[in-house]
């Protein structure tokens, strides 16, 4: 997609405004950031702040309580949190690696490694959440 720019240059010119692959990652980094503000706040409330006054160790019953009360809504929150957190965290690490090295082979290798870590943890985390949600009363 091309757009004519006249406002910031002395001569009108065409600039490319269609998103490239990197632009999509940038957009998703922002979208997941907004998602995390909500999903992580809900998660931290139930698993951390609500338990702060309770002495002793966190138990399975405590972790599962919100699943029992708000099964679908809480499970949805946790799955979206898993996706947003993994994408935002691992893409953030990729951004740091890309700032740190310009070596194409290393960049590609790290991208593949982070993608595999992300997919692996998404599947495993999804299974964990399924176990918690499916055993809800």
């Amino acid at each position: 997609m091309q757009r004519e720019v006249t406002s910031v240059t002395s001569r009108a010119q065409q600039v490319r405004v269609a998103p490239r692959a990197g632009t999509w990652l940038w957009i998703w980094q922002r979208l997941t950031a907004y998602g995390l503000l909500l999903f992580l706040a809900v998660h931290l409330y139930f698993t951390y702040f609500a338990q702060l006054g309770t002495p002793g160790a966190l138990t399975f019953a405590q972790v599962q309580r919100p699943f029992n009360v708000y099964t679908l809504a809480y499970a949805l929150n946790e799955w979206l949190l898993l996706f947003c957190a993994l994408f935002h965290g691992l893409n953030g690490l990729r951004n740091i690696i890309f700032d740190w090295t310009t070596h194409q082979g290393l960049r590609r290798a790290m991208t593949v490694l982070l993608l595999l870590v992300g997919l692996g943890f998404a599947v495993y985390g999804g299974w964990v959440l399924w176990t918690l949600a499916s055993t809800a009363a």
Partner: protein
């Protein structure tokens, strides 16, 4: 201003410190998240007994304080990240130093409160 002076000023500026802290907190929280998912996975590896045993192993002063620190780092990352996103929209550029220090003050206050609360619930 020479290039060297500009670089020195850049590397000691508040914006630079904000960027470094945003990245460091992001890295720490990401690594913590991966370990966290794995530890929660004890429910799939050994059932409820294994899950409760894993959680009990985190019921120590060290881990309670670490959890308070991680929650504080999440808040620091979120506040400095919001500051970045607002700056990208051209909002708050004139008060970027103030918003950074405000983020630090909010984070430190939260950490102190969580630290005190965590210490209070530690059972011998």
């Amino acid at each position: 201003m020479s290039t060297r002076t500009m670089l020195d000023r850049y590397q000691t500026g508040v914006g630079y410190l904000a960027r470094i802290l945003h990245r460091l907190s992001g890295m720490v929280v990401t690594i913590y998240m991966l370990v966290y998912i794995w530890e929660l996975g004890s429910i799939t590896r050994g059932g409820v007994a294994s899950f409760d045993a894993t959680m009990a192993s985190y019921n120590t002063p060290f881990w309670k304080i670490t959890h308070a620190l991680v929650v504080a780092l999440v808040v620091l990352h979120a506040l400095t990240g919001l500051r970045v996103m607002l700056a990208e929209s051209g909002i708050g550029l004139r008060v970027q130093k103030a918003t950074f220090w405000l983020s630090v003050v909010i984070t430190l206050t939260l950490f102190v409160l969580l630290f005190v609360k965590a210490i209070g619930t530690i059972t011998a």
